[in-house]
Symmetry: C2
Subunit: 126 residues, 2 copies
Amino acid sequence: MSKHRELILEIIKSSGHMTADEIYMKAKQIRPSIAIGTVYRNLGLMTEAREIRRIFVPNAPDRFDSFTNPHEHLFCQNCRTLSDISINNLKDYLEKQTGVKIIGYDLNLKYICSECRKKEETKEQI
Amino acid sequence: MSKHRELILEIIKSSGHMTADEIYMKAKQIRPSIAIGTVYRNLGLMTEAREIRRIFVPNAPDRFDSFTNPHEHLFCQNCRTLSDISINNLKDYLEKQTGVKIIGYDLNLKYICSECRKKEETKEQI
DNA sequence: ATAGGTGCAAAGTCTTTGCGCTTAA
DNA sequence: TTAAGCGCAAAGACTTTGCACCTAT
């Protein structure tokens, strides 16, 4: 594991759900010579090696997460922030409901987070 | 609704799950002067107007479906074909499990379709 | 004539990759 | 000294968009 790869992994662990570009920006602060291509290259390799997880977000750049237990993602339609949430045995549930052997799935739940909801309420009162 | 827009809708209705490029190719056979930009433009407008539905597929171009009832999608990891499947009250289930008010969701189920599975079996026997 | 739609091509966004150089074992 | 990794820049895939033109009202 190279220096850069280690740094990238640290950054992902320190704050999840970052896009490649966000990771690049943060890495650049610590090691200014790093190139965006290196970030993408290492993200790809680490994803393949299952050290991290790539999260597909419709209509938005991929995000990367340190690979812990499977969990789902809530995506705020307003501020575009991604949050974790876990749903027990969702894969089993989906297999049971569909009758199909499922290899995996990508799920994005769209909602309005509590901060944005509050702002909306305030706006309405004005 | 313009001529081109009508044609595009017809094509989508006639065989679902097509990418913009596939729709373009098919439209070009009927009206050769049509431009890819026009296809994308109309797909965007029709999606906004909820006349059709845009399906996000991780790591692959978007696909378009005539908007019927909500349903889920199975994506074969081998031949990259997309199939419909419906899961009753999935949104309710997800809301109940998460305790979060959900606006919508994107779900992609990854599997190996029966044709590809058969081929795999045959290969193994050889 | 005129507003909406179109073809064309350029540009935008995100991501990958070829190549020659660097670097650590 | 040599394989692995890197910086750089170009290119690739998909999609959007500005603009001048065209076409039905």
